[in-house]
Subunit: 194 residues, 6 copies
């Protein structure tokens, strides 16, 4: 912020802040409201912040994210057969995806801690393209959305498949990770189909 | 439980006798060696495992992973301008990527805990394609490779960019995540260029 | 979400080997409802999931779990005397138990993240049996119960006692871990006494 | 829970050295109420506990904490110039502070898991004293306050500055960490200015 | 460090109520050596500590721990059938056990951070007793043993089974958790069979 | 890796806005060596990094950090009496400090994951100043120092005291946190006494 603002703002702080001194009130209130054009995760001074959602209502929110991993024939067959043989890559990857979704707020600096009310991960095999497609659906009754949780769940599940198959193939590629559907909250429903 | 029960019970195991003599030694050693065709993360009974690397030598190993995020014009400009303005999305994403790489073993079930000796994350802006490309390079002196750490670092950094820009664009796509280079260890050097 | 929304959304999914067309639509919509007989943590396709509790009411819930560790005379005396001497094993074990209860959702794949509203751990010395019995009581105002938190608190506290005493005795046994009492929620009150 | 339930349930407990019969019933029922004079984090038996806040109302609560790091001229100039040069220590420290605030309940044994609704960290440069002053403001709508989160955010941000500058100066000192302001909750507003 | 250094350094400490002058010097220098009878996790002042193993040699160490969960007929059948049906409780429990073993140092206050070189979890079904027995084997090349990791892996795996089956049975009991075998390190081989 | 490898590998990189052709090759190869004046945690492009210590020797390293908390008379008496009464604030704070030291690499973005070989926390009561002084000593045999671990241990222990006493006093101040002694490694011995 401009030094002058800061000095005036600071000279107010002693018996502080937040409550007395209009100059500072503005300074403070601007902090949480006014943002850089486009960004919600920086205040007017460019300080990164976890967006204040204190006033937002608790509503039911859902997000569905997707992503895929492109693998070799050998890997594809090995994973596909896992469903019938012992040693199921996908059930471990699904568990890892759900656990990853729960840890989103630890991984993504500005994400809120969200007590998810539901999460599931599932896969679809695409034999033609030799792809394994992952879906992660997350639900919450809360003040902010769960799209980052769904995207993190997908990423973690796909990385887990990569890890368990990398001895067979070191050129796998993870991609097509995006938000498929989002409902609840101010922004209403979002539907993507890439 | 009673010894007799156990012996009888154990003798049911596919040639394993847990408690007695050479029979068990074989059973045990097979557990860690013999795998399902292709898989290194399952033993001969289909139990997932963290691969035993106790006997492997400590060597210097490196991995470089890459990935990208496709964004809108608006996001691209906002992020690109961050380098000169206050509020730098990429410096926070780089920090998140490094922190994510350090937590790989918590996220990926069968990954070893690896005391990384170096990690860095950097980005390249691709104005034509409106992509931000991320690179994560990880080093270790250890018994096993760090490709999962590099891939996790890339994924976390890209998810962080997504999070900080999602108010502007809900159709961003993360992709092209793969291992670019790997050196050290038995498998020697690996080079990919997708 | 409204069924119709999901059906329309899902019908956009590309056909795949595993699920295709309307068959899948049904499979998908059933995911959160219909379970394998007995299991609540698998959907109708056998995918593990974190159970959806979005619709459940926030009620006050409590759980009390117990467990014990059987130790040698030497350990028993050393721990018992800790209360009066400097170096109190049990106060550290109690703290570890409370911290462990708070981390249940990180350890148990399908557990919800629950902002516990209260947790305490205490011990009872059983001189005849040379046992230290642990209790962990957890409270929450939420949509799902806290029995896993109470059981994880007990397990972590007992493991901590084991760790701090293992130099004296390597044959200690942890056991008798079960849910003693559970109140609140649909299943009403549960009382066990093994 | 209803007192009578607890009494009946507890009276089933086997007699033990530490607690027996009705004496214990009382001890137990008093556990959550009566505390050692002054302490809220110990029950009447001296067992540490996470305070029971189940009955407390959800109110909007805020806390502002502050702290500083005293550095050398060289460090001060290097950090101050970071705002204009590439490589911004403070933006990484701010992100670390926010992430640290989110992990308070993992670090401080008796802290509740709190889904923070907002958090921001900012710095003020004090050229005369060669100090960097850190502020962390945390918000929540919940049953208990967030002063520990704010203090942990400040501590983590200052430690991060220390880490990134320690190659230049090994005699930096972190201090003046205290609660500047606290609003919401039973204790009403708290204002400190040291 | 050299003793003389420490003495000189410590003699600079301001006198204090708790420790003063040469008395303290001795107390300090004894800290890492002399322990309370029996305890290795407390210094001579009763301060808990993570035992100093800096001087110990890196050797290959293994630990095998076991434990069981007693379940109802219904649960036993449901879990046993999981191997052939979709939805495998045990493969998720095994993954959770391995992940839990990796997090031992976060859960058990005085445990060292150990970069495990191998870990696996497997189960044995005991149809007569309606028990599921869990084994966790951990390996490391390091300065201290991994029995706590093996015991934590077993506990986490059994808690995961409990969680996934608790809708069917709320009276399951986890027990018989002990160290089955330990090799490597000063204490040589340990074998238990309860 | 061999420079030539890297150059050839990097020259394959697509031209980009930020870096192109041989310019970038140099930029890349300089990344790990050349730093901004003073900073070790930024490369020549201003990207934060975890410093590469792969080539450094494993040596025994120690760090001793200190810090204090200024409390009220009431708090001071309550804490001091804890040593004799049940409910020991300091034993819990010491455990929290050790656990915090172990988690330094999760909290401080550019800190290495370090398998500490020893850690202890102790306190000194200063009756005149109504201060509780904390010390944390950390040891490792490794490639980089542990001063951040010692400082994080002190900070966490002091925050834990604050938390357990805050019901009595909301104006406590944590300060005087600095590195007291550091041995091992290139920088040799460091001794501070503020």
């Amino acid at each position: 912020m401009k030094m002058t603002d800061q000095l005036s703002e600071l000279s107010e702080l002693p018996d502080t802040a937040q409550t007395s001194g209009t100059v500072q009130d503005e300074a403070q209130t601007k902090h949480w409201k006014e943002k850089q054009p486009g960004f919600t995760h920086f205040d007017s001074n460019g300080n990164a912040l976890m967006v204040d959602v204190s006033e937002k209502a608790d509503t039911v929110r859902e997000a569905l994210a997707t992503g895929s991993i492109q693998v070799s024939d050998e890997v594809y067959q090995a994973v596909a057969s896992g469903k019938v043989k012992k040693g199921d890559v996908l059930s471990i990857a699904a568990a890892a995806g759900i656990m990853g979704a729960k840890r989103t707020s630890e991984l993504i600096p500005m994400c809120h801690i969200l007590p998810l009310t539901g999460c599931r991960v599932w896969f679809e095999m695409e034999p033609q393209q030799k792809k394994i497609r992952c879906f992660c659906e997350v639900k919450i009754t809360g003040k902010t959305g769960v799209e980052m949780e769904a995207l993190t769940g997908v990423s973690t599940a796909l990385l887990t498949i990569y890890d368990m198959c990398k001895a067979m193939d070191k050129s796998m590629e993870i991609g097509e990770i995006y938000l498929r559907r989002k409902t609840g909250g101010r922004s209403g429903e979002v539907l993507n189909h890439h």
